[in-house]
């Protein structure tokens, strides 16, 4: 059976070009870039080139401002904990209710240790209220950490505007953004319209590089203490021997993402929109989350009422289709998606959410196959659901109320 991979916000396939670019650094060029002998200089040059390449794509004039880490989670931890450590006189942090756990949980941990954290809410479309952001800024605000694009819904936050507002209020406020879902997908120029961003995190495996490599843009002069100490690498801001093959892979992956970027984005958007329209038409009582907000071109989050996400994923998987869900049963805890809850998606609808996320490797054929099988999967589960009336093929009369009710 052919695998249809539609879970690219979770991780992505490694591009063959990336893999090829990495191989020499597993074989003949295995040297430590910090060593003095001549062969090691080649690995040091490879790291420097990769850094320059990445800096170039992000509009960073001084490549030393790009630090390599092991993953976006490490980059986020470094940014948030490092900023808190370097600014002991300030105790207030602003973030949002819909961040990735790698930001949300770090903020909650600081909260448990005496920091005050403002978790900005979002509206039903997933948008932030910029007014609420302005009102949250305080004299003792040390850090703003707000994601660029949401992993579950694809909703994009106005980072340019938010970072400008923070800096115009007080240049000492550190502005961090988790751009894991947006680097390689949205244009980011840290020298121009994103010049107010101090720290920006992302990782390789969301853009067809392998897992195990991340990066942190660290604007020169930002007050932020290192997270990993014990070495002079990355100018002492992130100790540890450079992961040379993966660093080379990350740079190659970003270069590939930027090649024909607009063309690819248009094609992916067309695929997503086609799927969205077809599913909306074929599945009654379904809602697309984040539809009215600015959204990544590759993400579709759809909630099918009266059915549970895990059962849908299981059947999709039986058809070779890989997707994910915000349902409680798939989250590893019993709590359904905090993102959809923050958007006031009714509880029961959150349980029936499925996320499809695409990449440049997806085809029209993939979309057609999903359209062919998914509506039937939902119908099958509705037949089993106590909230569905099979005679009329409609929800039970009282089910609509249940759906709207929150806890």
């Amino acid at each position: 059976m052919r695998t249809i991979y539609a879970d690219n916000n979770a991780t992505t396939r490694i591009a063959p070009e990336v893999y090829q670019a990495m191989i020499p650094f597993f074989t003949e060029n295995y040297f430590n870039p910090s060593s003095m002998y001549e062969p090691a200089q080649n690995t040091a040059v490879a790291v420097a080139r990769a850094r320059e390449g990445i800096a170039g794509y992000l509009g960073v004039n001084d490549p030393k401002q790009i630090l390599f880490t092991s993953c976006a989670t490490e980059s986020n931890n470094t940014a948030i904990l490092g900023a808190a450590k370097a600014n002991p006189n300030r105790r207030h942090i602003i973030t949002t209710a819909v961040e990735h756990p790698a930001v949300l949980e770090v903020c909650k941990d600081l909260q448990r240790n005496g920091y005050e954290v403002t978790f900005l809410p979002v509206d039903g479309d997933g948008n932030l209220d910029v007014r609420a952001f302005v009102r949250a800024l305080r004299a003792d605000t040390l850090l703003v950490t707000i994601m660029h694009a949401n992993n579950e819904t694809g909703v994009i936050f106005p980072i340019k505007q938010l970072s400008r507002l923070a800096k115009e209020t007080d240049p000492s406020i550190i502005f961090h953004t988790d751009a894991t879902q947006s680097v390689g997908k949205l244009p980011i120029d840290l020298g121009e319209d994103y010049r107010h961003v101090d720290l920006l995190s992302f990782s390789g495996h969301k853009l067809h590089a392998p897992k195990g490599i991340g990066a942190l843009f660290f604007r020169r002069g930002t007050r932020c203490r290192p997270f990993m100490i014990g070495g002079h690498q990355e100018e002492g801001r992130r100790a540890g021997t450079e992961n040379v093959p993966y660093i080379v892979g990350l740079a190659k992956a970003l270069a590939l993402a930027m090649e024909n970027h607009e063309e690819q984005e248009t094609r992916i958007r067309q695929l997503r929109d086609h799927l969205q329209q077809a599913l909306e038409q074929k599945i009654p009582h379904a809602q697309v989350t984040g539809k009215a907000a600015p959204r990544l071109a590759n993400t579709l989050n759809i909630s099918c009422h009266y059915v549970e996400g895990e059962g849908m994923l299981y059947q999709l998987s039986a058809h070779g289709i890989c997707a994910s869900s915000g349902s409680a049963c798939t989250s590893g805890s019993l709590e359904p998606s905090h993102v959809l809850k923050a958007m006031n998606v009714p509880f029961a609808a959150v349980h029936g959410s499925v996320r499809f996320s695409f990449s440049r490797y997806n085809t029209q054929e993939d979309i057609d196959h999903i359209i062919e099988v998914f509506p039937g999967i939902v119908a099958n589960l509705r037949k089993l659901s106590p909230y569905w009336d099979n005679t009329s093929n409609m929800p039970q009369p009282n089910a609509e109320d249940l759906l709207q009710r929150n806890r």
């Binding site: 305080r138 299981y314 049963c329 359904p336």
Partner: protein, 319 residues
């Protein structure tokens, strides 16, 4: 989270969703026993119904001949419902005998369940129990006299411990003993309590306290650090000589008297979003909203006017 289901679980689920003959999907009309457990908000719900072959004189000799379910839930919840109906039908039990079917029998029938899915089997056992109680009510059988614990009013009268799933203290105490639950994760896996917001774990009267009461206190349990809030409010920029209230009033008045009339001539307006000391957050509204020259207008007209009229330290920030 990958699926770690047994072949039996996967098979029962696939058979059920494809409506294979011999599966137990459905609801019996005018059932002799009707029981529900869970809710749509909790993420899984089971409606279980059965029909008995009535004994002409002695309801105690009624025998369950048919069992059906409707389930909203995950793969294992649906498979557990199938397992429950199969076990009940194959057993040829009287309703009282059926009460002996426990969640572990369902787990065994399924060839095991992942730990975090045990609650699916508990849901089956709970719905069965509710259906038997319903049967007893309809047939006039006094279960209490037969020595069956019917946990009367347990949900209504008990203090709610887990607010997310509406689970009361008496219910949790009973389940902790019945299912021999020793830790908070075990409780969560079996009955979901504490699985969502987790705020009931270590508070007074919370899950750990109930565990301690039931099994005795464990030593060396770490104390939860109290949250401390020491962040203070202060000036964002230089001190203004006026109180924030009077300062804001003056800004408002200047905006109304000098700035709005100018903007309104062009069909525009000004929205003030916040004032923090000398920082004034605003945006142009009406016909001026989205205007290419908005930043310039704010700088020249709004900021200059306010500097002259109110305080020369004022700075405008466009939102």
């Amino acid at each position: 989270m990958a699926w770690e289901y047994s072949e039996k679980t996967k098979q029962l689920f696939m058979d059920a969703v494809h409506g294979k003959p011999g599966t137990h999907l459905g609801e019996i009309e005018n059932p002799d026993g009707f029981g529900e457990h869970g809710s749509i908000a909790c993420g899984d719900a089971l409606r279980f119904t059965f029909r008995v072959k009535r004994h002409p004189t002695d309801p105690m000799k009624d025998v369950i001949v048919e069992a059906r379910y409707l389930t909203f839930g995950c793969t294992s919840a649906i498979a557990a419902s199938e397992a429950l109906c199969t076990l009940i039908e194959q057993g040829g039990y009287t309703p009282i005998e059926a009460l002996k079917v426990q969640n572990r029998d369902i787990v065994e029938f399924l060839g095991g369940l992942p730990e975090q899915k045990i609650h699916c089997s508990v849901m089956g056992a709970e719905a069965l129990e509710a259906a038997v109680f319903d049967w007893a009510r309809k047939r006039g059988v006094d279960l209490e006299r037969l020595g069956v614990d019917i946990h009367a009013d347990e949900q209504e009268e008990g203090r709610i411990v887990c607010k997310c799933f509406s689970l009361s203290e008496p219910y949790l105490k009973r389940k902790i003993k019945e299912l021999n639950l020793r830790t908070i994760p075990e409780i969560t896996n079996a009955v979901k309590a504490g699985g969502a917001c987790m705020s009931c774990h270590h508070v007074p009267g919370g899950l750990q306290d109930i565990l301690d009461q039931t099994w005795g206190k464990e030593k060396d349990r770490s104390q939860i650090m109290p949250a401390i809030s020491e962040a203070g409010e202060g000036a964002l920029t230089e001190d203004s000589s006026l109180s924030p209230y009077l300062f804001a009033k003056q800004v408002e008045r200047a905006v109304d008297e000098y700035i709005r009339p100018m903007l309104q001539r062009d069909g525009g307006d000004l929205e003030i979003i916040d004032i923090k000391n000398a920082l004034i957050y605003c945006r142009l509204a009406g016909a001026c909203a989205g205007c290419a020259g908005a930043a310039q207008t704010l700088k020249t007209i709004v900021e200059q006017t306010l500097k002259e009229v109110v305080d020369d330290r004022i700075r405008i920030i466009e939102v």
